[in-house]
Structures are given as structure tokens and as C-alpha cells.
Symmetry: C2
């Protein structure tokens, strides 16, 4: 929003090479706002703008840029700038950037890190992608259980500068084992002479470094904390995850799921931030797969061409039947995929869901089937349109819908479980994917019902 | 997860009326964990379990329950319990509960509040639904600009007990106008003699009370804060919103959007927490609407029955054509709906999106059309299946796909904008909704193309 307002001004200043005014304008703005403005400009311009920023602010602003733009900027920056930038960045944000960069740029980036930062970076990159380890920062404050509250606050005053968050401090033993976490406010409110080990503000909750990022989001949602500690299998504190990163992860997960549900590969960047060609690649792939799937409907249809020739009336209801199956399948799939994503359902619940969706599919099928039945038998021109056997046609449509809706609902509900079981993302069972699957089988169900009901009359 | 493990034990203790052991078991658990266990039990049991909780913990545990269960519990609690509970609850959580309750229960609930709490509750309920005002809590600490850091910390020590969050404190003038916000850690790290007005940890960002909740989420994501102040139009501090509520809102928004995208009404409760009947109502409604829409395909088909009779081969491609239109529409709709939801696109961007999606639809249509064209002309039994004019049939399928995919993409991309413009939720343009719309128009496009291409040969 802000970007749109000041963009023309900045464009003009850029053209006039009025670096002084530009520098002053940026100095007055908050880092997230500067980032928003930089986002609006092509890379070559934003490299120029980026050079105008004072060294200490550059890294902070950089952290607010979307990953895609960070990547492009890094590739255009001079070596010296890169060194400053990467060493100043928060380790968790840097990890995310390093895993995105093309291999040769990652090498150049790692080479520009100081030995200390390099050690941290290598360690964080050692955790599996999308695991808790990748999102943590080692910039926390740890205190000892036998300090008093006053001593702890003094310690924090001396060592706390520049840490990402001080809202929560961590109590560890001399081996680094996590004993407790304390809100900074608990320390401030406490009697200064109370020992840290006697302070208590709720049970300790920690996240294993190997936990999946969906699990991280679920834990934050459950415990309403602003930061949670990450530990290894022996309970040693490795780092902390802060809630601002979790909010970003939650939004990114939801965006990915929605894009996958819509039948495309998840985008790395935003819609407007993606190139036309990149967007086409992500979209055309799945559409082509779905088209190849849909070609089976052509094969199925040609198999039933004899039936169609004898009873052309059957063709009238084909779109109705297959779409209803697709719709009920999309519905069930979206419902189950989201419940799996927010950890409300687990793999173990599949049988419970199967039973419930069997009943749901049957009820929904009967409702839709009855409406369609009535539509056929009560239509004023039923004789002309559907012939003398319109009652049998109506019955075929009713039974066809019950079968297709039931099948669609079950497919939509069970596919996400199957995909999770096979370690794929359940959201791959997109609405279009389920619809395509149900289209082919829907035709088979419909024509099978028809041949049973209409045998001896139309067929 | 935890609930599943201890459920049988608790069931047994409940049956034996072993209140003592139950009370002890609950005393050892964290409030979110107790809430998770309570969720697993039917209302009558959870009312009993709830009575076992000590008064001070009951409200805290209650706040972690899902809204639906809170509502049912409130209706089953005795008056005295209700009084304790509602007066102990955090104002922001209470607001959300009060707006969910049936009117007669809301009256009973409001009557049980103390005069002070009643005033707060009425005020918060005065803001529009899903606005920032509904999510704020008045339990913040405000300090004056001329205090020193040490004085401010003393003040916080004296007045801070029981506030929802102390991670950020707010600097106001004597009229309550918000001047700045300071992290508690900034105060702790500061030289004790520094005046509050001379401390600065970043620019002040505030949210207007009338801001929509999507905007609240976007602001938190942009500024990475743990709490943000809410102000009225004159800049007076009304309350604060904490990030844990924002994370819940973000997840709830995404869940709603995904359910709507899947073609159903958004659920109030979780999948397993919803009754079968409730679930059916939310699902059958949209499916019925979609079925009624699909009936137009039957009408369209009967309109083209003459063409079908002369060239039955056309029927073979009907599912392929209409589904491809539906798929490309779902894809575009999901992409645009999510971009609108995360505020990456605004209403003003519609023309930019229209242009881009026009090009996308054309490219995607040509890709899919070419594949289908090749499928027809290279098929080994093309003569037997598609007749002597198979080249013309292939051309019809190609042009039909280009038209339908282009139309589907444009519908999917523009409908969300239209819905937002009309103040509906863009997510109502669900995948099934777009697919149904495109099915009907897809048939018309396909048969129109066919009658142009095949005139004089098959038609």
C-alpha cells in the first residue's frame, strides 16, 4: 500500500540520482516499510537503493524482504556488501535464505561468513527441511537455576543486547540441559531475592528439533506462547523458535495448501512476484496431468457408445452426474486435508472418518438424487425430452447420483489419508484431482446403473 | 493426542466417582492439556470434570476450549459457577464467547458479570464482528513518558500482576493518547535513569479498532511484533491485540477459506467436534445449489440433442472439455482468493490480473488443446472411433479446449474480485462453484465451435 504511494517519488529521485534525499527518506521509515517499498522495484533498482542503506539497517531491512527477492538481491550484491549482510542477519532467517539459493551462490555466501557464523549456519542447515531445527535461532539468553531474580535481570542487562527476543529466558544446567523457561515479565514482577528455580510460570513445553513445521504451528497454537525452546533427544537446549516466524509459517502452509487444493504446484513467491513463465510452469503441469486423466473419460465414453446410440437421453445427464461426484469429492477432500494439516485428525483416525463419510456420502447422495429425480418426473415436457420411459430414466439418474456422490465422498475423504501414509502432502489430493478421478469412475457407475435399470426397455 | 492416551483412565475414574484422584491428576497438568482432555468428553461428563477444577484454574482452562464447547458448557453450568468463570475470563476471549452464545444465554451471562466487567464486555461487543476491536484486551500496562526506566519497571512490578501480557508496555499522555510502545526488554536493558521518552525501539505501529481481522493478521505478519496497540480515530489507546490470538485468527481464516473453496459452508467447530447433522447441513446446502446449477447442463444438452444425434462422436469429449474448463477455473480462483486474503492483491488490481489471466488462459488453453489434438489424430483406432472426419473432430476439440480453458481461467480469476466488490467473501467462489459455472458455458462454447467447424460434414 505504502509502496504504491511513494513509488513515483522514489522513481523520480532514482532517475535524478538524488542519493542524499533518498537516503534521508529511507532513514525516516521503519524497516518493514522500506522492505515493502524495495519489493516494488525491479532487482537492478533495488540493488542501487539497497546500497544507500546504512550498514546496520541493511541487514534488518533485508530480513523483511520475501525470500525470492532476497535470493535475487544476494546474487547482485558486491562481495563486501554480501559479507556485511550475511554476518548481520539473524541465523534463522539466514538459514531459510541459504536453502533457497542456487548451489554456487550458497558456496559464495558460506565463504563470506565469519568462522563463528559459519559454524552456526552449517549446524542449522543440518536439520531436515521444514523441520523445527531450520526455524530456530541460537540467539537466546540462558540463566542458571541458582541465580536470584535480581542477578538474572543483571545478567540479562549485560548479555541481552542484540538477541532476537528477550520475552522468554531459558533456565539450563551447566551441561546445557533445559530445565525451565521463564517470561521476562515473571522475572521483573518477582521479588528480587527469589531464586530462579523457585519461580514458576507454567509447565515447560519444548519442541524436538526434528518436529515437522505443522507440528510447530500446532504447538504454538495450543500453548499461546511467544517463543518455545527447541531441544535435542537428550533435552539439551539447541535454540528457540519465535512466534513471528510461526505466524509466517502458518500463513505460508495455508497458502501452499490452498494453491495445491486448487490444482497447481505451490508458488515460491507471491502471485504478482512470480514471473509469467514461472506461473505457467506451476500451472500447466498439473492441468496437463489432469487432462491426461480426463482422457480416460473419452475412452470410457467410447466404450459405452453403443448404449448412448440406443438411448441418447442418457447423455443429457452426463455433466450433471459427473460434476456432482466431483463436487462432493472436492468438499470431502478440503475438509479432511485441512483437519490433517491443523493436526486435528491423525493417520490413526482414518477408519473413524471412513465410517462417518460413508454415512455422509449416502445421505448427500440421497438428497441430491431425490432432487434430480423430482426434476425429471415433474418437468412439464418430460415425455418429449426423456421419452415414454421417463420414470426409469429418473430412477437411473437417482441411483447414479447416489452411487457417484457416495464414491466421490469416499475418494475425497480417503485420498488425503493415503497420501499422508505414503509421505506425500495430503493437499496433493486437490479438488480437480479428486474430480478427475471421480469423473472416470462416475461414468462407469452411471452406465452400469443404466444398463441394469433400462435393460429390456431402452437398452 | 494426549487426550487419547488418558481418556480410558479418566473414564474409569469418572465411573467410580473417584473425584479425589481425578482432581490430583488434573492438578499436575498444564491448562492447555486439561482442555485437550475435556474436549474428548461429551458435555455432561465435561461439566462434571469441570466442577472438579479449582476456581482459579477453571477460567484459564476454559479459555483453551474451542468456542463450540465453551458455548455448550456455559449452558450447562450452574449460576454460581458461571459468575466465577465469566468474571475471571480474559476480556478478549469472553467477547468471542458472548458473540457465539444464543441471545437468552448471552443475557444470563451478561447479568452474571460484575459492574466493571460488564462495562468492558459491553464496550468490546460494540465493535463490528471480525474487527480489531473484538480481539483486543484492555489488560495492558501504560506508563508515562517522563518516568525513568527504573520508575517504569517499579510501576510495572506493582501494577503488572495478572495482565495478559507484559512483553510490551504502552506510553500514553494524561488523556490516554498513545505516544509509543516499548518492549519490556528495552526497559530492562536500558540505563535505569534514562527517561522513557528517550527510549526508542522502532517506530510506533497501531491498528484502528475498526480494522478487519485479515488486516490485523497482515499487520502482525509485516511488523513481527508480539502485541500491537489498538487505537480510536483520535489516537487514544483502547486496548491491545496479542499475537497468540492473531495466530488463532490466521489459522481460522485459512480453515474457513479452504472449506469454502471446497464448496461448503465454513464449520464453526472442528470436523470431529461437529455433529453429523450439523455437518450435513453445512455440506448439503452448497451441493444442492451446485446441483441446481448443473441442471442447466441438462437443459443445454437437450438443446444440442440434434447435433449429438447427427454426430454422437461429439459426446465422447464432453467430460474432457467441461472438466478442463472447471480445473483451470478452480486453479485461477484458488490463486486469486488466497492473494486477496493475505492482502497481496487489492480490489484495484483487478485489471492487472485480468490482463495477466487472459494471457495465462490462452497459453494454458493452447497447451491442453494441442495435447488433446494429438491424442485424437495419433490414436491408432482414430478412423473407427472418430470417423473419416477425425481431423475436423480434433480441430473442434482443440478450439473447444482453448475457448473453455480461457473462459474458465477468466471466470475463476474475476469472480473473487466481483464477490469482494459486492462485500461477499471472495472464497465463496469455490472450486466447485466455478466448475459448475464453467460446465454450462463450456457446453455452449464446445457445441458452438463444433457447429462452425463441422458444418457441411458431420453437422
Amino acid at each position: 500500500m505504502l509502496g504504491n504511494l511513494v513509488r513515483p517519488d522514489i522513481q523520480a529521485l532514482l532517475q535524478n540520482k538524488d542519493w542524499k534525499t533518498l537516503r534521508e527518506a529511507f532513514a525516516e521509515l521503519d524497516p518493514p516499510d522500506v522492505a515493502e517499498i524495495l519489493e516494488e522495484f525491479p532487482v537492478q533498482d533495488s540493488v542501487v537503493l539497497f546500497r544507500l542503506l546504512p550498514r546496520d539497517r541493511a541487514a534488518e531491512i533485508f530480513e523483511y524482504l520475501p525470500l525470492e527477492q532476497q535470493t535475487r538481491l544476494v546474487q547482485s550484491l558486491a562481495d563486501e556488501q554480501l559479507v556485511n549482510l550475511l554476518n548481520e542477519m539473524a541465523p534463522d532467517d539466514r538459514t531459510r535464505l541459504l536453502e533457497e539459493l542456487p548451489p554456487e551462490v550458497t558456496r559464495r555466501a558460506l565463504a563470506s561468513l565469519s568462522p563463528d557464523e559459519l559454524k552456526v549456519a552449517r549446524q542449522l542447515l543440518g536439520y531436515p527441511e521444514e523441520s523445527a531445527g531450520r526455524y530456530m535461532t541460537p540467539e537466546y539468553i540462558s540463566i542458571r537455576p541458582d541465580m536470584t531474580a535480581a542477578e538474572a535481570l543483571d545478567y540479562i542487562r549485560q548479555h541481552g543486547k542484540g538477541r532476537e527476543t528477550l520475552n522468554v529466558v531459558y533456565v539450563t544446567d551447566e551441561k546445557g540441559k533445559l530445565l525451565d523457561d521463564l517470561k521476562l515479565s515473571t522475572l521483573v514482577l518477582a521479588n528480587p531475592d527469589t531464586k530462579v528455580k523457585d519461580l514458576n510460570d507454567g509447565q515447560l513445553v519444548s519442541i524436538p528439533a526434528t518436529a515437522d513445521r505443522e507440528e510447530v504451528v500446532a504447538t504454538f497454537e495450543k500453548y499461546d506462547q511467544v517463543a518455545l525452546p527447541v531441544t535435542d533427544s537428550r533435552g539439551v537446549l539447541l535454540g528457540i523458535i519465535t512466534v513471528d516466524d510461526v505466524l509466517d509459517v502458518a500463513e505460508a502452509e495455508a497458502t501452499e495448501d490452498i494453491q495445491k487444493l486448487g490444482g497447481m504446484e505451490a508458488l515460491q513467491a507471491s502471485y504478482l512476484g512470480s514471473s509469467f513463465f514461472g506461473l505457467m510452469r506451476k500451472r500447466a503441469g498439473w492441468l496437463t496431468v489432469l487432462l491426461l486423466g480426463e482422457m480416460l473419460t473419452t475412452t470410457a465414453m467410447s466404450y459405452f457408445e453403443g448404449e448412448l446410440e440406443r438411448a441418447l437421453v442418457l447423455s443429457l445427464f452426463i455433466p450433471l452426474i459427473i460434476s456432482s461426484g466431483g463436487n462432493s469429492g472436492s468438499q470431502a477432500a478440503s475438509l479432511i486435508i485441512r483437519s490433517l494439516a491443523v493436526r486435528e485428525l491423525g493417520l490413526a483416525d482414518w477408519l473413524r472418518v471412513l465410517r462417518r463419510e460413508f454415512a455422509s456420502g449416502l445421505v448427500l447422495g440421497c438428497i441430491l438424487g431425490s432432487i434430480a429425480f423430482l426434476r425429471v418426473v415433474l418437468w412439464p415436457w418430460r415425455q418429449e425430452l426423456y421419452g415414454p420411459h421417463y420414470m426409469l430414466v429418473a430412477l437411473t439418474v437417482f441411483l447414479g447420483l447416489v452411487g457417484v456422490v457416495l464414491f466421490g465422498t469416499l475418494c475425497g475423504a480417503m485420498l488425503p489419508f493415503l497420501l499422508r501414509r505414503l509421505n506425500f502432502d495430503p493437499a496433493t489430493a486437490s479438488a480437480p484431482f479428486v474430480a478427475t478421478l471421480v469423473d472416470v469412475s462416475g461414468l462407469v457407475i452411471y452406465f452400469t446403473v443404466a444398463s441394469l435399470v433400462l435393460r429390456g426397455t431402452l437398452l
